[in-house]
Amino acid sequence: MKTINHIISLCLCFLMLQLTSCTPTPENQTKVDSLPPIYPDYCDVTIPQNIAPLNFLLRADCEAIEVKVGKMTINAKGNEAVFDMNDWKELLQQSINQSIEVTISALIDDQWIAYKPFHWQVVTDKIDPYLTYRLIEPDYEIWNNIQIQQRCVENFDVNALGHYEQLENRCMNCHTFANQDPQLSMMYVRGPNGGAILNQKGQLSKLNIPGSVYFGFSPTGRYITYSTQKIIPAFHSDPSKRLEVYDSKSNVYVADMQEHRIFTSPLLSDSLKFETFPTFSPDGKYIYYCAADSVSLPNDIKQLQYRLVRIAFDENTGTIGTQVDTLFNKRSVCHPRISPDGKYILYTVADYGTFPIWHPEADLQMMNLQTGSIDSLTIVNSAKSDTYHAWSSNSHWFVFASKRDDGLYGKPYFCYVDKNGKAHKPFCLPQQHPTFYDNNLKSFNAPEFGKGKVPFDVEDVAKAMKQEAISFK
C-alpha cells in the first residue's frame, strides 16, 4: 500500500513539474540565413485585415519556439505557434497597410536557432468572410461521408450545409453563390430523388435541371448557365499521373429560374464540340465558357485542347448571341471565372483535357479583359495542380484549390490582387490547430467565397430534399 502511495506521489510531482516548468526563452542564439521551415508556408505573404490567426508549425524537431510578430511574442514548448484570437485581431487592426516583421527562433538540440525574419503585409482590402467547400477524398470516384461546409475565415467557426448523416450519404457538390450573396445560392444533392437545392433568402426549393454539372448565376440571379456532361473516369498507367476524367459529351445551356424553362443555342451545343465551364460576365452581357473540338477518346486525350471563348447574352430578352469569340487558345483552358469588377478573367491552363485537379502542370492564369494582357501568375502557381478558383466580392482576393504540399489533397489558398492587378504570394486557409492539414485526409474541393453566412443549415437541406422537384421545360 505504501509503495502505491509513493508511486502516486511521484506521478503527481512529475505532473506538477511538467505543468509548472517554464517555457525556455532564447539565449545565445545562432543566426541562420534561411527562412524558417514553417508549415503552412506563411513567409512573406499578403494578408487581409480580417483573416483568422495564421497558426503554423515549424517543421523541425524542436523543444521550444519563440515567435515575435510586431510587438507580440509567443513562447511555446514544441514546434507549434498558436495565436490568441484577441491579440491577433488587435495586431492586424494596428498593422493595416503595414508590413509586420515575423522572427522565429527555435530550440533545437539545446541550441537556439534564429531564422531569417520574414514579413506579413496587411492590406485594407477585406476578404469575403465565408468560404464554402466540399470535403471529399481526393479519388472523387466513390464517396462516403461527404460534407459541404461553410467556414468563417475571420475565425475558426465551421458549419455544415450538407452532411452525409442527414443526407443519406449522398454525393453533394458545387455550392455556388450569385455575386457571392448568401441569400441566393445553389448546390446539388445527387442520387435518387436528388436535385439542385436553390436557396432564395433562406427559402429552399428543389429543382430538376436535367444533367446539370458546372453552373453560374447571371448578375440578376434570374438565369443560370450550366453544362451537362457525360463524365468518364480513366486511369493513367504512369502512377505519377493517376486519374484522368474527361467528357464524352458536353453542352452548355441556360435555365430561366423564373419561367422554369431551359434553352440553348446550336453554338453552345454543337455535337462536334465539347462545351463546358460556363459562367456569366458580371454585367450579364456574355457567357464565357470553354470549348474543344471533339477527338477520339481516350486514345487522343492529349489532343483534347479547350479554348476560352465567349458568346453574347441579353439578360432582358433571354437571348443568346450568334457569334463565338475566342479569347485564348494555348494549351487547354478550364474554369474561367471573371472578377466581379469585370476587369480580369482567371482560368486554369493544363497540357490537355478538362480535369486539371490531377494535372500537376495545371496552373492559374489571369487575363486583363481591358488590355488582353495575360499574367502567368508565377508567384501564385506551384509545381502541383493549382485550380478551381473563385473571386471575392471586392475583386481583390481569389481563392483556389492547390495540391502544392503533397500533390494529393487540395487546400484553399488565398491570393491578393492589388489595385495595379499584381498578384501577391498566396497563403493557405489558416486552421486552429497547425497540424490540421497534416492529419487531414480529405480534399477541399470547389471553394467559393460568400459575403455572409448562408441562411439555412443541413436540416433545411434535408427537408428540401423531401419536396417535389420543380421541373424545367
Partner: protein, 468 residues
C-alpha cells in the same frame, strides 16, 4: 465471515469468466483484433484528439480507439478486452451487492452482462468504445451504490447523467450473433499474408478442411510471391485469383482491400493507390492504418516523395507505426528497390480497371515481372481461354526468349498444339518437358480419368470455368 467468503467466491467466479473470455478471444478469435486495429487509426495529436469532442461519447471513443491501436501486439487485444469486461463485471457485482441484491444473484447477473458484452465483440462492427461506454455507466452505477444517503445519491445521479452522456455516450449494442469462425479464418490468412508469413498462409490453407474464396485468394498470392503460382493453381477449385474483380461503389470493403494486395504484388502503383484510397473511404471514420501504410509505400515506390511524406507524417503520430515510418525514410530505397524497378513509367490511359490490360502494361514495361506473368497466364487458363494464353505466352515468354517451363503452362500448350494440329517442330519449340509430353499421351488414352486430377487437361475437360 459468510459475506467475505461469498465476496471471495464471487470475485473468483467473475475472474474466471474474464479468463474464459480471454482464452476464447485469444485462441479462437485473435485475428479479429488485427482487423479492428488495422481498420482504424489513432493519432497522438491535439488536432486529431479534439475531433472526439464533436459528438456525445467522445471520451469513450477516444479511450476505445487509443486502446485498439495496441491490438497490433500479440495477446494485447484479448487482454484489453477481457480487462474491460472484467471491470464491468466487478463494478456491476459490487453495485448490486451495495444495493442489497444477494451475492448469487449479483454474480449471476454480472456474469450474464460480461457474457453479453463478450458476445457483442463477435461482430466486426462492434468497437471497444462501446465496451468503454458500458464500463463508464457501470462505474456511475457503482458510485451511486456507495452513496448511502438516498437524497445525495439522486442528486449525484442527476448531476452526473448529462456529463456522463456527453463523455461516454450511449453504448452501441449489437444484435446477438454466433462467433464468425469462417471470417476469422479469412482474417487469419489476410493478416499472415500482410505480415509476410507466406509459408504460414500456405500451411493454414492446406491444413484447412474447408476453404473460402478469401483463403484461396491469399493462398494463390502467397504462392505467387514464391514464384510457384502455376504449380499450385489447381489445388483448390474453384480457384480465386482476384483478377476478375472490378471495384465500384457496391464492392465490399474486404474485396477492395484484397485488390490493393493484388495490385501491390503485381506492381501497379496507380491501382494500388486507388484501392488503398477506396478502402480508406469505406473504413471506420474513413481511416485505415494499413492503407495509410500502403499509401506511403506505393507513393515511395512510384517516386512521389511529397505524397509519401504526407502519410509517413500521419504514421509518425501513432505509437505502433512511428518506428516503421522512420525506417522507411532511412531505408526505403533498399526495402523497395525491387518494387521500384517494376514501376511502369510508360504512360497510357485506359477507361477500365481490367486486370488483364493492367498486367499487359506492367509486362510490357518490365518483362521480368514474374508475378504479373504468372497472374496473366493463370487468369486466362482459369477461363480456359487457350488462345489468349498462347498469345500472352508468346508475347512474354517466347519473344523475350524466357520460356517459363512450368508443368501447367506446358500442359496448356499441349492443348493448343493438339487443337491446332501443330507440326512436330512446333511441339519441339514449345514442349521442353518430356515428362509432360509423355503424360499428355497417356491422358489422351484415358481422357477425363481422375488419376490426372492434378493436370490442366483434367481441369480443361472436367471443371467448370468461372463466369465473368
Amino acid at each position: 465471515m459468510n459475506n467475505k467468503k461469498s465476496t471471495y467466491y464471487s470475485l473468483i467466479a467473475l475472474t474466471i469468466g474474464a479468463v474464459i473470455s480471454w482464452c476464447f478471444f485469444q485462441f479462437w478469435y485473435a485475428y479479429h483484433f488485427f482487423f479492428q486495429e488495422q481498420n482504424q487509426i489513432f493519432l497522438w495529436s491535439r488536432d486529431y484528439i479534439s475531433t472526439y469532442c464533436d459528438k456525445p461519447g467522445g471520451l469513450s471513443g477516444l479511450i476505445g480507439d487509443f486502446l485498439t491501436q495496441f491490438y497490433y501486439y500479440l495477446y494485447a487485444g484479448a487482454a484489453i478486452q477481457s480487462l474491460c469486461i472484467w471491470g464491468i463485471g466487478m463494478l456491476l457485482y459490487r453495485a448490486l451487492v451495495n444495493f442489497k441484491v444477494g451475492h448469487l444473484a449479483a454474480v449471476l447477473l454480472a456474469l450474464f452482462v460480461m457474457a453479453f458484452v463478450s458476445v457483442c465483440h463477435f461482430s466486426t462492427s462492434y468497437h471497444l468504445s462501446s465496451t468503454i461506454s458500458i464500463l463508464a455507466w457501470t462505474l456511475l452505477l457503482w458510485i451511486a451504490s456507495i452513496i448511502r444517503n438516498r437524497k445525495l445519491r439522486f442528486t449525484m445521479l442527476a448531476c452526473a447523467l448529462l456529463p456522463f452522456y456527453l463523455l461516454f455516450g450511449r453504448p452501441v449494442i449489437k444484435k446477438i450473433q454466433a462467433p464468425d469462425l469462417v471470417l476469422e479464418k479469412d482474417f487469419s490468412v489476410d493478416c499472415e499474408y500482410h505480415f509476410g508469413n507466406y509459408d504460414k498462409v500456405i500451411k493454414m490453407v492446406e491444413g484447412s478442411d474447408k476453404w473460402t474464396d478469401q483463403m484461396v485468394f491469399f493462398y494463390n498470392l502467397a504462392q505467387a510471391q514464391r514464384g510457384e503460382l502455376p504449380d499450385h493453381l489447381l489445388k483448390f477449385t474453384p480457384t480465386q485469383l482476384g483478377t476478375f474483380y472490378r471495384i465500384g461503389p457496391e464492392t465490399p470493403m474486404l474485396t477492395i482491400r484484397n485488390m490493393n494486395k493484388l495490385y501491390w504484388a503485381l506492381g501497379d502503383m496507380t491501382f494500388t493507390e486507388r484501392a488503398a484510397m477506396m478502402t480508406n473511404v469505406f473504413s471506420n471514420n474513413n481511416r485505415n492504418i494499413r492503407m495509410i501504410r500502403r499509401l506511403a509505400e506505393c507513393n515511395y515506390v512510384s517516386g512521389d516523395s511529397l505524397a509519401a511524406e504526407k502519410y509517413l507524417r500521419i504514421l509518425d503520430k501513432t505509437f505502433v507505426y512511428s518506428r516503421w515510418a522512420d525506417n522507411i525514410r532511412k531505408n526505403g530505397k533498399s526495402i523497395y528497390q525491387q518494387k521500384m524497378q517494376m514501376v511502369n513509367h510508360h504512360d497510357t490511359i485506359s477507361i477500365t480497371d481490367n486486370a488483364h490490360f493492367i498486367m499487359m502494361q506492367l509486362l510490357d514495361a518490365n518483362p521480368d515481372n514474374t508475378i504479373a506473368l504468372d497472374y496473366i497466364l493463370c487468369s486466362t487458363l482459369i477461363l480456359k481461354d487457350i488462345n489468349s494464353f498462347k498469345r500472352d505466352y508468346d508475347r512474354y515468354c517466347m519473344t523475350t526468349n524466357k520460356p517459363r517451363l512450368k508443368p501447367l503452362y506446358q500442359e496448356a500448350l499441349c492443348i493448343w498444339l493438339a487443337g491446332t494440329e501443330a507440326p512436330p517442330e512446333e511441339w519441339e519449340k514449345y514442349i521442353k518437358r518430356p515428362d509432360v509430353f509423355k503424360r499428355f499421351q497417356e491422358y489422351n488414352q484415358q481422357r477425363g480419368s481422375t488419376s490426372f486430377k492434378d493436370t490442366y487437361w483434367y481441369y480443361f475437360d472436367k471443371i467448370k470455368a468461372p463466369e465473368i
